[in-house]
Amino acid sequence: MGRSSKDKRDIYYRLAKEEGWRARSAFKLLQLDEEFNLFKGVSRAVDLCAAPGSWSQVLSRKLRGKDKSEEVKIVAVDLQAMAPLPGVTQIQGDITKISTAQEIIQHFEGQSADLVVCDGAPDVTGLHDVDEYIQAQLLLAALNITTHVLKPGGNFVAKIFRGKDVTLLYSQLKIFFSAVTCAKPRSSRNSSIEAFVVCQNYSPPEGYVPNMSNPLLDHSYDVDFNQLEGPNRIIVPFLACGDLSAFDSDRTYPLQLDSSKEYQYLPPTQPPIRPPYQQACQLRKNNLLAKEDSASGALDDSLSALDLNQSPDTNTVTPGTSD
């Protein structure tokens, strides 16, 4: 497999490189906006778990428009630092901290945000129940900080895994928003359980006081378990979004897309930022991993195929899309 094999497998990965997006996930937000008009009238936007910054990039290009409006304020929050983007203020902070919420409000000069987006995905373990739980906690943390910074009537968009307990998340989101939709942009693969919740019109319950110290934990089935194995589970409407004439993320395209333009390999816009396996890979490359002197021998080819070439855009790890 050459370096072009990923271009071949994933059309949006290729397009992202061609259009200068930091990750293919940029298309997901663009297609969500096409359907929901998320950016209309937005002058203050927050991107949670922003790194490597493709959604901030979309916000920067779309909200500020051609005239590079100074009215528009975009805040990107992540634990990691990322390369700067025009018109985007970075906060290196933890979304579970009240100080982070305060810092966001400060940037908006005391005003609340019109839109909060979150494309964060946690470090996955490969065990579906654990991964779904952790993703749900990330989403609830994002929701929690959102309740501190979002103006009533504002919108919230976040990545969600459509797993076994997704209905519990829906019911929790519906407490805070009058319209909750599960949306699947066409750039997100059919085979992946990844989807996005588009929560419109923020309207918290009466008397609700945002509180960072207690995470929103209570997220379980009723005692009668009707939701678990009964017919009346809370399911929010599903909407596929993006133009049907757009590229198909599941289709495998030839390298030569257009007879008029010759295929050229482009390097990724941004390599992954310090992945956890970095040192282990370096040791492996130099044959420095510890091993038994005799029996285990040299590196096993079949193992090297196993997950070592993790996708460079770590922000868009989508379980179930591996080929």
Partner: protein, 1199 residues
Amino acid sequence: MACPVESAVMKSTVLVAPVTALEFLGEDFLLTGEGPVLSVYSLQASPKEYASLNVLHNYRIHGIRPSRKHQFGERPFNNLISSESSVLANNKEDIIVFGGKGVRLVSFNTGGRCLKLIGPVLELQDWILDIHWLKKQPHPLLGISLAHNAVLLLDAESGNVLSFYSCVETCLLYSALMIGPNWDSLVLVGGTVFNQLVLWRPTGTKPDGKSQVERRLLGHTGVIFSLCYLQKSGWLASASDDRSVRLWSVGTLGGDAGCGEESPTCLRVLYGHQARVFCVRLASNRVFSAGEDGACLLWEWGGEGKVGHTFRGHRSGGVRALAVSEESIGCKEGWMATGGADGGVRIWRVAEEKKDCEETQTETQLDLGFKGQGCPKVVRLVGEGELNTILVCTDQGEVYLSQGDSWDVIWQGGAEFQSYCVMEITSIQVQNSDCIVWVCAVGNLNGGVQVFLVGQPGVGVLLRAGEGKVHSVLWAKGLFEGSWSWCLLASGSEGLVYRWTIKVTEDESGLHMQEETLLPFLLPPCAKRWLTAAVTLPKRKGLYLCGDRRGSLLLYNDTEENVRRNEGRTDLEKKETENKQSDHGSPLSPISTLYGVHGKQGVTSVCEYQDLCYSTGRDGSVRILTVEESVLKVRRVQRACRGMEWIEKVLFLGSDGPEVREKLLNEGIEKRTIDQGSASIAETRFVMVGFHSVHFIIWDPHRQEKLLSVACGGGHRSWAYKHPIYADTDPRAHTLRQGTLVFIKHGAVMASHSLASTETDVNGLTVKEGLHGRGISCVCHLGSLTKTGQFSELWEVFVTGGEDTTVGVLAISAKSGNVKVLSVLTDHISNVRALAAIRRRETNEKGGDDDTTSVCSLVFSAGGRAQLQCYRLLIRLDEQQGQPVCQVTQIAGHRLDEQWERKRNRHKTVKMDPETRYMSMSVVHNGTECVLLAMGCSDGAVRLFSVTESSSSVDMLWECFYHQRCVLSVATYKLEDSLDRKLLLLFSATTDGCISVWDLTAVLNSKASVSWQGPSAPFFSIPVHQSGVNALTISPRREMRQMEENVISLASGGDDGQLSLMHIKIDQKKQENGGVSLQLLAHWSVPLAHSSPLTGLCLLSPTLLVTTSPDQRLCLWSMNSDGLHPLKVLFSHTADAAGLWAWFGQEGGAWVVVCGQGLQLFQLTERKMDELHETVNRNIKEGERKKVMFPHHVSRTKH
């Protein structure tokens, strides 16, 4: 057949899921957690399951905590322990089982060997990471740590929370561990989402009611998946996403010692895993770690942390659970267990720690100190078991025998044998005696072959194999004139193979050797024209299977009739051979030839085992062969692991090495020739022996793992393998202990281990066999097997295709819960995404359709890299044991980009074609000659293939890129009615939610076998779903068909979670060549049938539909004239569900199998029988859960 309708009851009967929890109970029992099911295995003699219980309902077990363990925690290395384990005989053991938000108390009676639930599932409000027993009496008190860095004290009986503390740092934890004798002095270690380890005490300093972090351990660059603490040494170990294991010196934790040392240090950073490390366990002076790479590493403390041993026992997907028994923790000989993502469980015997480990571990390859003239060229092992000695032939034409440390010349060939000789040995039974002698044959450059006894080199004969170079000498054992004797084959010049029978007799004067000349064999003409392998086929008198250097497999017939026929050949032929004729008589030509099948590098070995022939070659493959009416046929080709291109031979598992096997063969042969009718049809489990670059490898193709690896320097060397001695293991346990390799390297004779050493490594005992380690993408039910007229087990037979690129053949017994992997097919190079099967009548079968003891199917598998494979499978119940066995015949394989693969300069150019994946497959036409298959392809095409079984060919007949989108699913509808009307429709569905219909009727009349001018567009198309259509199924509507109308039900499931049902009327114009038109009669849909993509859909009957989805619900729907109605919903433990299959069982009721991250079998029965049971069940179910409220946790979401 009975059709379960509204009253249907669904229940899970068999589950294979990742093993996520393991724990030992003393040295006698192993507890496993697989999905919600807790099982107990006994470890005595041959491990077996004792009890199994669904404990956690919809939660997966992540931890098992026997109460006894907790006492060990306090005084871990007390002498009392060993005596206590023997007292275990009849004891009750309280066990806490937890996972997700659920906790349950279970008791295990070690005498009665049964598991009992105590109380309901307690459901907490947060995810549980660790549970710590604090008190057993009077109420079980548990310390529980939660994912949001909080701990609580729970009365497990009442479900009351007695105390709750949370850390000031409320971040998410990936792992946690509680240490300490009582609640007031507990220490919690948490692995945070920020890759740190934090230590805190619930009762520690609390300014605002929250506990402060007292210690912080930094260093990991990934999240921490697992923690372990050992009080004795004060070590804390952590396993991480960053692929390292870190060992920290933290001192004593808990009790008066608080959070231990003021400034803990990192003692070791252990990098050795190839992927993420999921589990870590500590023993004194040792660390065990296991992870995604499927390996468990045993780290010795010495040498800055070196890997003392690697245990590999799981297929891709890795190890998910690890347990170490108390004895092993004390570094005595004890158990270690690994549980895989493949659902398999292995136990390993861990040897006692060696005192002087550094000394003995450094040099594992031994130089056997060969001291003789010249260079050793050939090495062989003589003798059996303990008496093994080494025989070496040098380039000086001398043969040496090792005697302890010394090497004695036993034979000198003189001038004729110098500079070149070949050698082969065999053991021969002395005539009329039980005595076995070893015989050595050495061939030279001038046609001379010296045969002599190894024990008495003076006894021997000198034979002549023509005038030229003797390329090879080989021994074959066979029946000659009704008695067993050995045939020596010497390959001379011009393709002549000279043959003799060699007998050893004994009289008063000692041993004598007698030879008798046989007719030579003639090899087919080619450049390297000599024999490399030969075997006689004892069940077929006079037949020899041979392999040559050109890669050809040859069958010779030595019977008298054939010899006569040979002599009576035409004069022309006779003349040709006359020149070559010597006193040996006119040579025999092969009666069947597979020219060059093993490639230009040649055949390396041939053998016969249980009536099947096996050949190996330097093309990296093993061929399994049959001889049908004197014609040699390849039944199956099996490749070794990637890069292992040189296979030397196969070894059969469950046998005790060749010598012992031969003895058994002697006894068994008469018996076997009698009951020829019940010939064994299954391939015996075998392992491949060969070279992988510079390594000598033993590869188990069934388990897909290396059993032995020795860095010998690679191929082109002489080697001998000493079989391990089986002392106590059951040969049927299919385990192979590591033996010893003797080989020649740089002019020295080397051994991989000391030959005298009796120590062998056990390759783990399989407690439970695993399936595909990664996701199972598709499943197909082939049929059911049961012994007729007997009350016996019913086996359901399946094929599965997985992301691990293999196709598995499984048999599942619902009654016993047994899951048997019958065969693993490894021909695919990428994901296997689709399967299809056609029932075939067995060719030479006694029984008819009602034969329930065998299933014969033609199976097609398709997937990534546009690859299609076809097999004929015959699954039958073994006559003796009633166990299912499987025979695989490879029919054909095809790849779209085969031409590209053949291109020579392909590494230099960029392949512009798309990397097409086959997404789904449907059998379009099941003809007598060929089968037509429709394929939905990721490059936007719909393709039609014809597979011809007789010629083993696959041809693409038609392709159409109409869709320009990924085609996710295809289905066909075929009608041939009494009026001789024919109709063939293909339904294709794509990522835009459209379903299109193609008229392929014309292909039924088409004679074309290579290409066919099919339609360029579908004639009907309808948008049904918002996005991709994952599943499609069609059934004719019976009640409508009586009215001379063609009405079908078309059900589809989409990525949008929608289930849709259409009734479509098909109008076929009366006139010839008339087109077809469709009329949509009705269309119903359930928009949110599932809360995640609908991935599995199957019509059980025209009125009953089953669906599944990654939301882990299995739904049953009824289809009436007024649409779809939900009947039942059941929670499934198969995560990432990707496929489903449903069928009616033989004993009434129906079955559903769901595949994904594992496999689950469900049974559907009618309520009537179970009604009472069901209502009782429901009541229990409600009483089986209890919600645990956190005392001061204020839900802010009240409304």
